[in-house]
Symmetry: C2
Subunit: 138 residues, 2 copies
């Protein structure tokens, strides 16, 4: 599995290191989007800044994307692996569960087109839904 992780890093154009393997591995294991603080806790005793910069690097290389779910802290989640696809600026919906407090990507749920008033030019869009996730509603 470490081999997989490294392969994925290299595919993204990132030199694999111990820290990067660790972070990516953690993100892969994690089903939901997590914050820097959570990552730091999960990987303790690692340095917060190093994880922070690792995430920035991942983000630059489109390995992860950040989500602002309104909780105050940015969350990070892996991007879909469909490398050759449309360059998706996070065109999928994100879901924050009020019950378990986790944030999920809904990669199959695309953001519907929005017709803006005259004069407004759209460059980016983010849609965060809040409610109860499938696990908590079951």
């Amino acid at each position: 599995m470490i081999a997989d992780v490294e392969k994925r890093l290299e595919a993204a154009g990132i030199k694999p290191t111990a820290m990067r393997n660790l972070v990516l591995e953690y993100l892969l294991k994690q089903g939901s989007a997590i914050s820097l603080a959570e990552l730091e806790r999960g990987l303790a005793p690692v340095d917060r800044v190093t994880v922070y910069r690792t995430l920035k690097t991942f983000e630059e290389h489109c390995l992860v994307h950040s989500i602002n779910d309104g909780t105050g802290a940015a969350k990070y989640a892996l991007c879909q692996e469909d490398s050759g696809e449309v360059r998706h600026h996070d065109l999928h919906v994100h879901f924050y569960c009020n019950s378990c407090k986790e944030t999920f990507c809904l990669p199959k749920t695309l953001i519907p087109a929005v017709v803006l008033p005259q004069g407004f030019i759209s460059e980016e869009v983010s849609l965060v839904m809040k409610g109860v996730c499938e696990r908590c509603s079951a």
Copy 2:
């Protein structure tokens, strides 16, 4: 106008005070959504914490809603006055202008319905678009 402001506060179930009048008046004058820091600057020399708590009070009474436009600081904007209408959990789109850095409510631009995967229950939704606003694109 102070009378109007006070009337609006009372309509929301908030006891009018000098500070609350001031904050509400400022929000009314303001065309866009503003952050706590901006409010503090605009109303100087007021206490940041007092403004903060005033906004929390307003928010609890659905007089303002907060918007997370990804700039790191929450912004606040007045809710629509259509008192009797549907309880709108901010069902309109918010727009952040990359050029003038302001955040606007687009009260007429409603968030399209999103079909969630099985099991997910929606309670709230927020959609923030980024791009160029009408004034900057003109």
